[in-house]
């Protein structure tokens, strides 16, 4: 190794040591109090489902299976066939014309994945997150069937749910980004 090379190497080492020290100083001078968690451990809380189906769990359900769950867990608030009362109507309704606006899963919701996501996290009101994933798929299928969006024998699962085209899928104008 020539003198020049030696000197160059030592300069490199000095720079590297300085960089390390600076990095350490930055780390210590800023608050870093988060506790690392593995993606696998974080998954236990990860209940959000995107419109592309990302986050949908294994499992499946049919309208017939859903009718049973619905009668037991949902009908008291949403009516025997999703007609509503005392709480939100889930079936039918309309958002145009001269009659009153009635927003339902069938008339207004743009994504079927939202129905799974909302039911799993928030319903039934008295015991949210108590349904199994299969029960949520089944209730989702039943409500879609009541709205005439899927057939009697359609199976709803992680693959088929994002493919369901909701009647009002193209009914929204995003203001962000853009106007705001």
């Amino acid at each position: 190794m020539s003198t020049f090379e030696t000197r160059a190497l030592s300069v490199c080492i000095a720079v590297a040591v300085l960089a390390l020290r600076t990095g350490a100083a930055v780390a210590a001078d800023a608050p870093h109090f988060g506790q690392p968690i593995s993606a696998a451990d974080a998954a236990a809380w990860d209940i959000s489902v995107g419109p592309d189906g990302a986050g949908l769990p294994p499992g499946s359900g049919t309208p017939a299976q859903g009718a049973v769950v619905y009668a037991e867990k949902c009908a008291a608030c949403h009516g025997d066939k999703g007609e509503g009362k005392p709480n939100a109507r889930l079936v039918g309704g309309q958002i145009t014309g001269n009659g009153p606006v009635v927003k339902t899963v069938g008339s207004y919701w743009p994504y079927a994945t939202t129905l799974f996501d909302f039911t799993r996290r928030a319903m039934p009101w008295t015991a949210p997150k108590s349904l199994t994933d299969n029960e949520v798929y089944a209730v989702t299928a039943y409500i879609l069937r009541l709205n005439g969006i899927i057939g009697d024998n359609d199976v709803i699962d992680a693959k088929t749910l994002p493919q369901v085209k909701m009647p009002n899928r193209d009914g929204f104008i995003p203001l962000f980004p853009g106007k705001h």
Binding site: G34, D46, A54, P86, I95, A122, L175
Partner: protein, 437 residues
């Protein structure tokens, strides 16, 4: 001073708009002029009761309590509740603006909307998870977050459905608590969200994150990362004390100026995601259906608005004479630059005095001096923000949003982000009502 001199004095103050509005400068710098010119009652004085010592001046008072409560004589200054028995539906609690003054809402009176009651969270067990498109997913305990550098800001929070009753076909006769009670203002203290995003190593390409609560329905919303890097905070304190349980204890997201629902309470999870998650609260709810059948989605800032709280519907004027008209104004797009008041239904307007400091995205109180002559009047307020946005008339608003078809219950939200000018009618008897002009 005789009564006739008193009247002459009042008349000598500068009138700046029709129906008795007085130049705001008398409120700002000529307090003595008001005192001298308008006075307080007749100087000659009717036979008054003799001054006596009341019992509280003659014996020791009451032990100072560890946590003070308002006077027992102020029992009417409470929130109104839409679901006092916690039936299986959402709950709203509205702020009594007609009974308050200033700009800061006491913590116990801050408005709340909750989907399933409020959770009784043990702060030692609460965790905030940040994951998704980050280098290292992390958990932040309350204890950990309390060690971060803090920042405070005063900001309003407003439900997207606040003021929706003004969209009703016919004027709903209710007070400002019912009409405008879903807006409040507090000083919030906490940690900048950008600080935590830097710590977990957010993907620099990421554009959206979702925020989710620890409440029973796990309420969640999608939020642009740009807001996180601008002024979003995770707040732990409300008006100096730890956040009220019904407003998010032990921590909530604060997105100054944005629709209230996005300021997720009882925050327990943030996930950096590829795009909007299309939550129920950003598809079914908090979208605005237009006459075309299309609906606006992702309507974030609460736009410029004001209303007169004193006097306001349900109140009765105490006869002709001097009144201070006052109210609240705010904008999710910055500071209020001016508020104009009319006493003649919008024929003429005068600039109101703005109570300083005027803070960005915070409630700003305006005040106007008024000599009411006892005849029928219509009071309006119109706010403008520093971005130049002007609060629209009801007619302008309806031209864009469509005509209302019904007058639903006052607690319904027939039209979100409704920021029309409020109009209060004052009858010759002094009764104040909600009217349309």
């Amino acid at each position: 001073m005789t009564k006739s001199q008193h009247r002459r004095g009042a008349e000598s103050l500068p009138r700046v708009a029709g129906n008795g509005l007085i130049d705001r400068r008398v409120l700002l710098s000529q307090g003595t002029a008001i005192a001298g010119a308008i006075g307080v009652g007749a100087a000659t004085g009717a036979a008054a009761e003799p001054l006596a010592n009341d019992p509280w001046s003659l014996a020791p008072g009451i032990t100072i309590p560890p946590y003070g409560q308002p006077s027992r004589f102020e029992g009417k200054t409470v929130r109104t509740l839409t679901n006092p028995k916690l039936e299986p539906r959402g709950s709203a609690a509205r702020t009594p603006h007609h009974l308050l003054n200033g700009t800061i809402t006491p913590n116990g009176l801050h408005f709340v909307i909750a989907r399933g009651g409020f959770p009784d969270i043990d702060p030692d067990k609460h965790k905030l998870l940040i994951h998704g498109r980050v280098k290292q997913p992390m958990i932040f305990t309350v204890e950990a977050l309390l060690r971060y550098p803090m920042t405070s800001r005063v900001t309003f929070l407003e439900c997207g459905g606040n003021s929706a009753p003004l969209y009703a076909k016919d004027p709903i006769q209710a007070n400002v608590q019912a009409l405008h009670g879903l807006v409040s203002c507090a000083e919030w203290t906490g940690v900048r969200l950008s600080t935590l995003f830097e710590e977990v190593g957010i993907d620099p390409e990421a554009k959206w994150f979702l925020a989710e609560g620890a409440d029973a329905p796990s309420m969640h919303r999608s939020i642009p990362v740009s807001k996180a890097m601008d002024d979003a905070m995770i707040v732990l304190y409300q008006n100096g004390e730890r956040i009220n349980p019904s407003n998010g204890y032990p921590m909530r997201l604060l997105l100054p100026g944005y629709e209230g629902n996005m300021n997720v309470k009882w925050l327990r999870r943030i996930k950096v995601v590829d795009g909007p998650i299309m939550a129920q609260n950003e598809t079914m709810a908090y979208t605005i259906l237009l006459p075309s059948g299309k609906a606006w989605q992702f309507f974030y800032p609460q736009e410029v608005k004001s209303f007169i709280s004193h006097p306001s519907p349900g109140m009765t004027m105490k006869g002709p004479g001097f009144y201070e008209i006052s109210g609240l104004s705010w904008s999710g797009n910055g500071r209020i630059s001016k508020v104009e008041v009319s006493a003649d239904g919008g024929k003429s307007w005068a600039l109101a005095a703005l109570q300083t400091p005027v803070l960005s995205k915070a409630l700003t109180r305006f005040r106007m001096a008024w000599n009411w002559d006892g005849s029928a009047a219509i009071l309006l307020s119109r706010a403008t923000d520093e971005a130049g946005n002007v609060q629209p008339s009801r007619a302008t608003f309806l031209a864009e949003r469509g005509q209302p078809r019904a007058s639903p219950p006052v607690t319904a939200f027939p039209m979100e982000h409704c920021n029309v000018i409020s109009s209060w009618g004052v009858s010759a008897k002094g009764e104040v009502t909600n009217v349309y002009v």
